[in-house]
């Protein structure tokens, strides 16, 4: 890999965009050469226009890039989209139609049948949808999406159980960090010394997205057969800065004891392609045996914020098994997850290196 692929970040001045900037600043394969932002910031150097809300400072390499308008005339082949939903809905297809590879963190097209909803450790073959997507819409470019950060927190252990025992149903309750709502996001008056049992649209995403992620690419590679499983979710906001926790009860196709499930977690290995991706962690799934783990503050940063930490597998008195799973919502669950998707696209040849 001689030269880094130049990339743009759409909505680089928002909270998710800032994470893209921070994480891509030293990326071995990609180089940020373009950033776009709101009307307020267009025309300013990024380092001056941005209201930087993540720890540290804007990376030097990006400091003097002039913020562009979010229109498809950027001089890069690949854009990472941190656009808000409505703007993503409008602009991502325009970028794909103009030939860009759009790697998005937005929800607008996640459930669109010919758009891959992708986590390389789970369904790297779903990129097989890309040719059909391009053909059907007559696009030179295409869109690839990441799941919602709450979905991410629960879905890898679900995948492991699905592979090992078959997965028929999951009842989920999530405890989600405030950073999932961006900045300014949740008012401190709303969440301090409190829990809010509501995150707009999140229950629905938790009940839909896993079925696509755990689904199978159809014969013609034109759509995904959604996994046949029942899902039920209740998303809660809790006063934690980072890290989403999912408390999950599952019904399996074949009976399994807690010990067998733990063994499945411990023996699971990611698809071979993950070994080639710089952002894929050595151990994507860490099983902890302590009775009080996983915990957001202690486990969210495992493997650079890219691992799922799972624990507390035991019998469920109603379904079959219970477990608890945690991921870092703004790393694995957002910007880093999209970057990992772009790495997969490059290895698979969908992005030219």
């Amino acid at each position: 890999m001689k030269k880094r692929v130049p990339v743009g970040i759409l909505a680089a001045t928002g909270a998710v965009g800032q994470r893209f900037v921070q994480l891509l600043a030293d990326h071995p394969w990609f180089e940020i050469t373009t950033v776009t932002g709101s009307d307020r910031t267009v025309g300013q150097p990024y380092g001056e226009g941005v209201n930087w809300v993540v720890p540290g400072d804007p990376p030097a390499a990006v400091h003097d890039l002039i913020v562009q308008e979010t229109v498809p005339n950027l001089d890069v082949p690949v854009v990472f989209s941190a656009l808000p939903t409505a703007l993503a809905h409008e602009w991502e297809p325009k970028f794909a139609a103009a030939g860009y590879v759009v790697v998005t963190n937005a929800s607008a097209y996640r459930m669109t049948p010919d758009v891959p909803l992708l986590i390389p450790e789970i369904n790297p073959d779903h990129t097989g949808l890309i040719p059909a997507q391009k053909a059907a819409r007559d696009w030179p470019g295409f869109i690839v999406a990441s799941p919602n950060c709450s979905t991410t927190s629960a879905v890898l252990p679900m995948k492991v159980l699905q592979d090992a025992f078959g997965l028929q149903a999951a009842v989920m309750t999530t405890l989600q960090a405030i950073s999932g709502a961006g900045y300014p996001g949740v008012a401190s008056m709303a969440i301090m010394d409190n829990v809010v049992p509501y995150i707009g649209g999140e229950d629905e995403k938790l009940e839909a997205e896993p079925r696509k992620l755990l689904g199978a690419l159809n014969a013609g590679a034109a759509s995904i057969e959604l996994a046949a499983m029942q899902l039920s979710a209740q998303a809660n906001r809790v006063p934690v800065t980072d890290g989403h926790l999912a408390s999950v009860s599952v019904k399996l196709s074949r009976p399994a004891s807690p010990a067998e499930a733990v063994a499945a977690f411990e023996h699971w290995r990611p698809p071979a392609v993950c070994a080639e991706l710089p952002s894929s962690p050595e151990r994507p799934l860490i099983y902890r045996h302590e009775s009080d783990r996983p915990q957001p503050r202690l486990d969210r940063d495992a493997e650079g914020g890219m691992a799922w930490t799972v624990g507390k597998v035991r019998e469920c008195g109603v379904l079959d098994l219970r477990f608890v799973s945690i991921t870092h919502n703004t790393l694995r669950g957002a910007a880093s997850g999209s970057i990992l998707n772009a790495e997969l696209l490059l290895v698979q040849g969908y992005i030219e290196g």
Copy 2:
């Protein structure tokens, strides 16, 4: 009620004991005349020996009571027990054997077949066990217990659904406040910016106690037939000062729509006897229609901390319905709950007024 019944508080210097002291200081029917405490505090005036950890100051009426040893030679007919489990296990039977009415908040005898596990709004008839308890053990006194504060948070809405539609199963995930662990309880280093998915023994209590509370007094009034329902629970500690939240999915015997369940919650009325109990709230169950309620900080103090606030009833994609319920864990879920039990005992004649 001419004269107040003199009562003692066992372990009055601990966190739960302090709540008993605070709540009983102005009680219309009971008067604190005796307090017991640890060896360190015995012999001191209560107001000086206690390390007061609840807002405000120790009530004047109790300030000068000399702390006694916790032995059954107290000059009162009724004792409220805030003893830790091991001490409760040892001493509560000795008090009952010595003729005291023991109204306990401890877990030691909750699941003992002939000890009523009591919430007046749910099962006031379970005091019918008392004669059998006294007879079987040849005790002049007896023990009556309150459920764990996490059980309490979920059990009244379960009762309402049981009465209206039959209740076959419940999958519960709780988000519990730090005050549930007493003082010093949870280390701030353990819970700040964090969630701990473990509270010792709490999952088991959540999976056992509701079956007794929702069970039926047997023909001979010598035991409770546990309710035939499957229960599964995951208890989590969250950084909230007060208020336990339960996220519950239920399977019903007869199908019910969310609207029917909401109607059941809104039309439910407590047993008639509750109207006579000074600590029983006017509205023990408040249903809120806002999509983001109930919340601990906004709802825990409803009806003086004695109400269940329920919301978010909707279809469960796996079982039948989901809902969220909140109670104040140190009021309804602990000291106030026990005081309410004592009020019931007095009205029913088990305590002499």
Copy 3:
């Protein structure tokens, strides 16, 4: 007092306005008959238009009042103003010019020479400015202001020391609760697990307002001679829901030992008129001797949130003495403080009862 004085609340739908509504709902002397709000809410019943953010529900008595525009055609003699600064600047004089008594919590006119900046326990005679204010501007009505909530937290103990020993200088550092910023106010991402050493304009208010509150009404009763003292302040936002803490070092005119200062705090009594005011607490100043008090969570609600709790008086190694003081910022420091001012105006005859 036969009939309650009808009053209006300007900006009743905001966070401060809601506190006015809550506190005035059962006031013995005042009756809310009019509420105003933003364009979005005008014309709606208050209970439906308001996004209620304080615990509990909007009081029944106010639920059906139709929200009015904030213009001086309201059918009440007295308005409580919870307007944001810019609107207060524009509209409060118009209300006064139209004959209304304007009791404001806003900062717009606090330091205006002929507007009383008032805390009844400190300077009830400053209402003596009112005739001059009306005369100079040819207003049938007038404006009376409350200080900033951070000023309030420190100023009563400063008054006591001023009276007892003379006060030459104060170096203040405050630790202020998030509710001081209203709703949505401070983003949770900004303050959780954090301290923000900046609150816009607050240092300046802390360095100016005490000089007026502790100043003397001039001979002609046309202005206040500012107290001759040096002030220095650093305001910090901390992750606390309610309660402002001030850490203060003072230089006195006459030397005093810590014991003498404590005696001054303990012997201080409010002006006689306070005994007539329903919102004035029995003990406006509580001195606590524990080494770890006052604390926001334990002391903010003392005397219904209307008391100053002071502690930790000791020698300052640089100036003369140090102490710590706490008040409830949205009660004593905001809405309740203004209501107390209105009570004083009624007793003094500036409002007709």
Copy 4:
């Protein structure tokens, strides 16, 4: 540096000891070969005996070291002491008497005249006390101490001002993180939604230690002439996980404007020896111009948690200038600070490399 110096950690199983373990695991100059712990853990492999409370896991290199008793028969020339005060008082002299270099984070001997109280960026020459210490006590080894973490947070900017303008007095109020109290440390019931204006002994340390750190080695190099300055401090615990903030007002010997002080901060450079120390950051002092910085969550990790971040320099209405300073209390303020001291000792030849 061919071979790493073998070192021991005293009280390696406590919270501070764990930080030493974590930070020394990959140190270029030192190698942990010995750990000591409480009776409970002696004889167990470290990884099993320790109740690990910092994020991540115990380093592999230390996992199998058998925990030793804390007695001076360890096979290392250097020990890092994380002992509690009372044990430090008893055991550190015994280790020094037995020939060990004792690099301590404990408070027991900080103010002892012939024990260097050391921060390499401030007073690296104070190690000049070591020969006198050894001679006076006839010790083959010696003790070197780090200051309290609250002292550390304020003292480097004080040093810069002292050098540039002379420093006569400082009034300090600190806002300190819970991790400063170790584990379990502060009860969550005590600090959640709260501020505690008391940390045992901390005010006194803040009023004493800076005078030694900023003092001068006497002619005979047998003691430190304490800096002639007046100090006054109020330490507060706030609900923040890591990072101590100090709000400081200072009186200077020569008048200086805020701009001159900012220039002094920006132009200050550490002593030349610091460039040789692996743990000394490139920029030990970062001045931030934003009006709302420094903040614990955003600035505590600057330069790997080893930098002071200073901001908000402005005129003080009572003394001369005010500023705010932040450090990471368990890194710069504790374990990392002691490691840096050991690096200095090695470069200066007091430890043999």
